[in-house]
Symmetry: C2
């Protein structure tokens, strides 16, 4: 039994913390929302009132926070994780945040004698609850190996993407590509349909040909061909368009910093911004079909 | 043994005609290039001097031509296929052309008492030579069933996409999507690399996650991960960027006619046009990586 502090008990964090507790670990749960802490207690965690109580006895600290600024605050602010954690503790930040912040916080942690990896996830709320997340990790091999048994409890696929920050890089590059081929798939189905070719027939051809992609064959944005897809459930998420837009904006920030040209990534960010502007970004990200076919 | 006229003996047509001849059919070969006809004779066809000689005894006429205007001319001009073909003959147009022309020519053929399908292909010169093309067919069920045994000789996958013109629709919608996810894949690999994540590691993660697409896993534009990909052979085609651009332009024409929004398809056409403008459109279409990473 390991003592694990878990900070950030939103829709994702609560499922992850719950799975660590179910596996028999002593999970110390902390969130700015008292309701969130109460829910964590219901699923077997110990509720904590402040950072000191959560982390001072923990061998591992897991954080699952909305953005880079929260990660900086939770770790680096006075009275934060750095001030209260045990020497040699391992930090796992599973937040999806900007690459620069991830690298800066890990660098500070290492200078203070801690081990730390960035370990953003994919798989959504369902994957968090089911313990089937994919973890993309950046950091030293030692820190990764130390974290892996705990990531294996919360996830199904655990990748070491290289040095600090590379977990974030893998996630935003992957999700930028996902956003692009989701929109492209919507455009192709809509074009086909407007020219008289129905969705199932186009699916039967393109899914076995060079048009094949994950958005089509695992998550088809045209209702019909893939039964489990949100398109068959009025585009209820799933993975909300607002979350895709967050990732596309992180990708654009990183691309600007790295001087990487992303002509379609830029356009994908603009199109999901139109979905946000229309107030429909609470739909699943495959609901971009409604922007493309004019039913938004 | 069926008598088959084959008109259009370019890089694709010669392989297709050769496979029909090898299967024991009486193939009457016609092209505006005498050299092309001579090559067809070498692979077992009978060389013809004009449309009358090629089609007057043919049960089936196959055409493989560059663009819609050539298809109109070869079938509809005075002294063309319509004037010389046997009553009840079957026409198979495997050219990739605009949807409107395909539908117009098939309609005229049917009014004149012929059967006709549009049957554009994918699979490239290699597939034509090996008899492993994919055919996407539009037309009546009867015409499709009549054509299928011959398409099976030239191809591996033969799809009936619905009414006349739907073969073209399936092809351009599929290839528009292919162009989009190829560019997106290049952007993702380039972004990852500029941020310190190498191609093989990104491939290992994204190819098993939601970024997966045909351009990545069958034709990876980053050298390394997929041994058979043109990226490992200085981007020699393969499927040339110029041919992708032709298909993207057909998709844009069709989208304009159908009032279908294709924001990424439009951008893909613009990016392959930049490749054309740089004089590098003879590279494989995955060579768009060189535009994205600045090595063009």
């Amino acid at each position: 039994m390991t003592t694990i502090a878990f900070i950030g008990l939103g829709n994702m964090g609560i499922g992850m913390a719950s799975n660590l507790a179910k596996a028999g670990h002593d999970v110390r749960a902390l969130d700015i929302s008292e309701d969130a802490v109460a829910r964590a207690v219901e699923v077997g965690c110990k509720g904590c009132k402040d950072t000191s109580e959560a982390v001072s006895e923990a061998d591992i600290v897991v954080t699952m926070l909305p953005a880079g600024k929260h990660v900086r605050m939770v770790y680096g602010d006075e009275g934060g994780v750095f001030d209260h954690a045990k020497q040699g503790a391992l930090f796992i930040d599973s937040s999806t945040i900007d690459v620069a912040t991830a690298r800066a916080v890990i660098s500070t942690a290492e200078h203070k004698g801690f081990h730390m990896i960035d370990a953003p996830v994919s798989g959504g709320v369902g994957g968090a609850a089911a313990g089937t997340l994919t973890f993309m990790c950046g950091g030293t091999k030692e820190a990764f190996e130390q974290a892996k048994p705990y990531l294996d409890i919360m996830g199904k696929n655990v990748f070491h993407a290289g040095d600090a920050g590379n977990g974030q890089v893998a996630k935003i590059a992957n999700n930028m590509l996902l956003g692009i081929h989701m929109i492209g798939t919507c455009e192709a189905f809509n074009l086909a349909e407007k020219l008289g070719l129905d969705a199932q027939t186009f699916y039967d051809i393109s899914s076995t040909a060079s048009g094949q992609n994950w958005s089509m064959t695992s998550y088809c944005p045209a209702p019909g061909p893939v039964a489990s897809a949100p398109s068959n459930n009025d585009y209820q998420p799933g993975f909300a368009a607002a979350m895709m837009l967050k990732d596309l904006r992180l990708a654009q920030d990183a691309a600007t910093t790295a001087r990487a040209a992303t002509p379609l990534g830029t356009q994908a960010e603009a199109l999901y911004s139109l979905m946000e502007a229309s107030g429909k970004d609470d739909l699943d990200f495959s609901g971009i079909m409604k922007l493309i076919n004019g039913t938004i």
